[in-house]
């Protein structure tokens, strides 16, 4: 049975109890509120006019942020509502949140909030197996400690480990700059973590070729998208992955007359809404399909009736055929597709055997995206979260370039999800930067995580996520990714690394990195002496830590901007404090300040400006942009605002900011100049007052349509004049022969990646599910597993929210054909076994998935039974591979399993136990 220690499924802190907890932070009241006899709240809502709506925001990592407002009454939160600040229209839509934003009251006020600092009973500071007992991680009992004790332990362990083993023995698992970065950087630096995560092979496979790798750069703006005749959705599901308005943008396109085609192993909720013509393909076979489409274009192309946009290919791209190859190159994509090198023309018949789509459907699909139509080829990253897809972005771009769908109104070829989902173009409004950004430079995932690290770029070890687990095993070696990633043509370097401390405040890494069984083995057998986790729930990562710190949510502190980048391009979102911290939960900024002060730093070294004054920075630093890019202050600041915020700390900080800027500049940091230089404490005229922002919680620039000056068409300038507007490549063109990319990825040392796309039978791909491919005999692991981002949570966040668990069952989706073969019916238990782990889940039998593939939604928390090693949580990563290939892509969708019907009935998702912090 499940090992999860406590359960309180379906229960939340009742309003009256919550009132007691939030009105006073004292332990006494806290104890009352965390009494185990929590009962569902009585319905005592009354509509009273004196209640106050305060802007909050959703904070899950879907790439967007939706503004919501919390109704505060008698000091407690009774309801959430969405945007009703203006009438809703296509041009000026309300910002409506999805189920997750609506469910936040049961996230913040849930009984499974962490309440007190605690440590493992058998863990003590000082290092050595006798103090650490690493073998008990995830198994030990917990004991409550005071914040004073916690801070003392954190400070003494940090000091001891740095002094004994050096700064690279401390690992911050958060690839984005988070509060612990500030602390460690003031103490001499730490090793950092990095991963391709959800971006798959687009992370390093697109930029060098000449494309953007995110929606802002590579997607049409929403009004341009509505001009498309045909929209191809290639492995993308905003209905689940990008809640809020993004799927509505596709509905607008449908209403405007667009026809949709979907390429995917799974006919998802987005495709169903737009009535897409579904092209079912096996996971990881997308490149075979693309090759066959290019083959079809080539053989059908004639001077009289061209199928290829040769004008764009000749003027704006390089390396497609022999004519445009760079010096020294001997092979090209066109001749490869025609079979000149391997004797295998990449015909629809050839592709059909691999991808599963009938040859005539491949031809039909190719014709449907022909030159004569306005077509948008939109993909997410899912097809590239597989092994051996380093050239997939390049091939996708080639397909779009050949068919003429680049750089023209109503046409695009690129990414359409995550931030600014389906609404490309640079932000039209921008918040003032968050203070963490201001201090450590911008924290975007594509930025070098070594920025600001005093060890210097050469010395900081950048640990790739999959190497983290291998690294904490006792071999004391890791592969340093830093130079290979950020200073191309430098190979990945093997470095000595003796990881002794792991501190994470953001990424739920045990849950989100592939192969947690390897991770747990490493943490139990290796030499890591101190694992720190701050969190709001008892997440998987908290369960395997040594010290667990209860953190506050953004509802419990002065507010600010939702995120610097993660907001719709027309909108900036702010949140404000709605309640006092629950129980003994603390702000992560407070935590690192306390530890820093114990270690001789001053509070001002770490976060010299309070949260309240940071709120002012977010507001006063916000900008709006004219169509030509001219920027203006967004928020009106009056002398009264300045007086109200006080700003003594900020004044003092800005007096020394010049020095900070110079120091950062010496380290090569970009962006600080843009952040600091324009910032002045002075009155300004903007488009919205502070008071209005505090009432509405966001500002949305009103769009009028595609021709309002804010429209965006990727590659438009390149198409118009490639000489004047070259691509950001060495040749200035989009490179279908890209030596820079091939050298960079091959240089990482795993396997050779060619400068142009070819089909190599992928590691752990569809073909690998057969023991005898010729005769189509299935092998030991006959199923492929994909793990879609899920509406029932986002990654590991909100996994325990009862309303979401009730609404979303987190089943494993299995095809009707496969279910019949195994005798599996709806609700039956299915055991999935891969080479890395085993997991159980109830089945949903469906005709929406290609036979041979299972879909297991992403992000549920690990719940391993220690006796059998079986995970009861339906955890996707426990069966995912942690092999490294190419650019070390996190190949979540290359999972292979065998399945069996499991006799033990499993509870409904909503009845599954919720991990409760065992200390009350």
């Amino acid at each position: 049975m499940s090992k999860t220690p406590g359960t309180n499924a379906g229960k939340s802190i009742s309003r009256r109890r919550f009132l007691a907890a939030s009105a006073a932070v004292s332990a006494a009241f806290g104890l009352t509120a965390c009494d185990n006899s929590l009962e569902p709240a009585k319905d005592d809502t009354e509509y009273l006019t004196e209640e106050k709506w305060i802007p909050v925001t959703c904070w899950v990592d879907c790439g967007g942020k939706c503004p919501t407002r919390a109704l505060v009454k008698d000091g407690t939160i009774v309801r959430i509502k969405g945007d009703d600040t203006h009438p809703d229209s296509v041009e000026f839509p309300q910002q409506r949140s999805c189920a997750r934003g609506r469910a936040q009251r049961h996230h913040v006020l849930a009984a499974d909030r962490l309440k007190y600092p605690m440590k493992r009973k058998n863990w003590n500071p000082g290092g050595g197996k006798e103090n650490v007992h690493p073998e008990l991680r995830g198994r030990d009992e917990w004991e409550r400690i005071t914040w004073d004790e916690a801070i003392d332990m954190l400070a003494s362990e940090t000091r001891r480990i740095i002094d004994t083993y050096g700064n690279n023995s401390i690992l911050n698992t958060d690839s984005m700059h988070t509060e612990p970065h500030n602390l460690f950087n003031k103490l001499g630096g730490s090793a950092v973590c990095y991963m391709t995560a959800s971006y798959g092979s687009w992370q390093n496979g697109a930029f060098d070729v000449g494309s953007g790798y995110d929606t802002s750069e590579s997607c049409l703006d929403r009004f341009e998208l509505m001009k498309s005749d045909v929209i191809v959705l290639w492995g993308i599901n905003p209905a689940w992955s990008s809640g809020g308005n993004p799927a509505y943008i596709l509905k607008n396109c449908k209403d405007a007359g667009a026809k949709f085609i979907a390429v995917d192993p799974f006919f998802n909720d987005t495709y169903a809404m737009v009535d897409a013509d579904w092209m079912p393909v096996h996971p990881g076979t997308d490149m075979a399909l693309m090759f066959a489409m290019i083959y079809t274009l080539l053989v059908e192309d004639t001077p009289e009736k061209p199928t290829i946009d040769w004008d764009f290919i000749r003027r704006c791209t390089m390396g497609f055929d022999e004519e445009s190859l760079p010096e020294g190159a001997t092979e090209n994509l066109k001749d490869y597709v025609l079979g000149k090198y391997d004797g295998v023309p990449k015909t629809p018949e050839w592709a059909s055997e691999i991808c599963g789509l009938e040859p005539e459907r491949i031809v039909e699909f190719t014709h449907a995206i022909g030159l004569d139509k306005n077509v948008s080829l939109i993909t997410g990253y899912a097809s590239a979260r597989t092994f051996d897809t380093d050239n997939l972005p390049q091939l996708f771009l080639a397909l779009g370039a050949l068919t003429g769908h680049m750089g023209k109104s109503g046409n695009m070829t690129g990414i359409g999800n995550f931030w600014n989902a389906l609404n490309g173009g640079m932000p039209l409004v921008q918040t003032g930067v968050t203070y963490t950004d201001l201090f450590t430079s911008h924290s975007g995932v594509f930025n070098d995580p070594r920025e600001g690290n005093p060890m210097g770029y050469q010395d900081v070890i950048v640990v790739e996520d999959k190497q983290l687990y291998k690294n904490v095993l006792p071999n004391k070696k890791t592969l340093d990714w830093g130079e290979a990633l950020f200073n191309e043509l430098k190979p990945v370097e093997e470095r000595d690394m003796d990881c002794r401390m792991i501190w994470s405040a953001f990424c739920n890494y045990i849950n989100c990195f592939p192969d947690p069984n390897l991770g747990i083995k490493g943490l139990r057998e290796g030499d890591v002496e101190c694992i720190v986790r701050s969190d709001i729930n008892f997440t998987t990562t908290a369960q395997y830590a040594d010290i667990v710190l209860p953190a506050i949510t953004p509802w419990e502190r002065p507010g600010g901007a939702a995120e610097y980048y993660y907001h719709p391009r027309e909108t900036v979102i702010y949140y404000f404090q709605v309640m006092e911290p629950l129980f003994e939960a603390k702000d992560d900024q407070w935590i690192v300040k306390q530890v820093g002060m114990k270690l001789g730093l001053s509070e001002k070294d770490l976060f010299p400006v309070s949260r309240k004054e940071q709120e002012f920075i977010h507001l006063a630093g916000a900008r709006w942009y004219e169509p030509d890019g001219t920027e203006h202050p967004l928020v009106t600041i009056t002398q009264e605002d300045i007086d109200e915020y006080g700003l003594e700390e900020l004044r003092e900080y800005l007096e020394t900011a010049e020095t900070v800027y110079k120091d950062e500049a010496a380290g090569g940091t970009e962006g600080i100049e843009n952040v600091i230089e324009p910032f002045k404490i002075e009155t300004q005229e903007g488009l919205i007052t502070v008071a209005e922002m505090k009432e509405k919680g966001f500002f949305q620039l009103e769009r009028k349509g595609a021709d309002d000056g804010y429209g965006y068409i990727p590659f438009k300038a390149l198409r118009e004049d490639p000489e004047a507007n070259p691509a950001h490549t060495e040749s200035g063109k989009i490179e279908f022969y890209c030596k820079a990319m091939a050298d960079k990825i091959t240089g990482m040392g795993w396997n050779e990646v060619k400068p142009y796309p070819t089909y190599t039978t992928p590691y752990m791909g569809y073909e690998a599910t057969f023991s005898d491919w010729e005769n189509k005999v299935k092998g030991e692991y006959p199923f492929q597993v994909i793990n879609p981002h899920y509406m029932g949570r986002q990654h590991g966040v909100m996994n325990t929210v009862d309303w979401l668990k009730e609404a979303f069952e987190h089943p494993v989706f299995i095809s009707a054909a496969d279910a019949a073969e195994y005798g599996i019916k709806d609700g039956d238990s299915v055991l999935m076994t891969s080479k890395t782990g085993r997991t159980l889940r109830r089945a949903t039998v469906t005709n929406r998935i290609i036979p041979g593939t299972l879909a297991l939604p992403h992000g549920a928390w690990l719940d391993i039974d220690e006796e059998t090693g079986i995970d009861y949580g339906g955890h996707d990563n426990v069966i995912a591979p942690s092999d490294s290939r190419g650019q070390s892509v996190d190949a979540y969708n290359s999972t292979m399993v065998k399945i069996e019907k499991w006799s033990e009935p499993l509870p409904m998702h909503v009845d599954e136990p919720v991990p409760m912090a065992p200390v009350e």
Binding site: T45, E46, T49, C98, A817, R848
Partner: protein, 190 residues
């Protein structure tokens, strides 16, 4: 006057934002749902039929809950047509649960009482709108006087295979996907 809800199935992505907005407004525990979104499938691979249904109380012209209740706990509001359940009068006998052809009244185990959608009567009385009415990210839900909804959506229907007409004069309207009339369908948990 009869107010009711309109649901555009062709726009719905099954995200359950409406179900949870309703849970939040009414502070509902796990189990009872006043607005409920369910998902259905029909057809065969590779041409599956697939649709969602977001429904709540139809605030019928001839409400069977009202007619069947031995306690007289139900009433129909003249101004809105809302069928209102008085929780104070309810004895939890579940007669209405059985009588309603749509399974709308929800039994609360903890309270041993039945409760149901009251069209957010408190909000509507104060000039506001029901919590679910304007929450849909896909703009698939509308709330208005039923005549206005009929005029705005002349092709809308009030029943599909998974939500057959209960003969009670339901004040609901739907624009439906073609497959929603397929007789062979199965509810699927997603």
């Amino acid at each position: 006057m009869s107010y009711g809800f309109y649901f555009d199935q062709t726009a719905c992505i099954g995200c359950r934002a409406c179900q949870i907005a309703c849970k939040d407004k009414n502070d509902l525990p796990v189990g009872p749902r006043f607005r409920m979104v369910n998902t259905y499938e029909c057809g065969e691979f590779p041409k599956p039929g697939y649709y969602h249904l977001s429904v709540t109380c139809n605030h019928c012209d001839s409400p069977q809950c009202l007619a069947s209740c031995p306690q007289g706990a139900y009433s129909k509001d003249e101004a809105t047509g809302a069928v209102i359940h008085d929780d104070e009068l309810c004895i939890g006998c579940k007669t209405c649960v059985t009588a309603c052809p749509y399974n709308v009244p929800q039994f609360f185990e903890a309270d041993k009482l039945v409760k149901k959608c009251d069209m957010c009567f408190d909000l509507v009385s104060a000039g506001d709108r029901p919590a679910c009415a304007d929450c849909c990210p896909m703009r698939a839900l509308e709330w208005d006087e039923i005549g206005n909804l009929k005029a705005a959506h002349p092709d809308a229907v009030n029943a599909i295979a998974a939500w057959p007409d209960g003969g009670t004069g339901p004040n609901c309207l739907m624009t439906i996907k073609a497959e929603a009339n397929e007789p062979n369908f199965a509810r699927k948990l997603i």
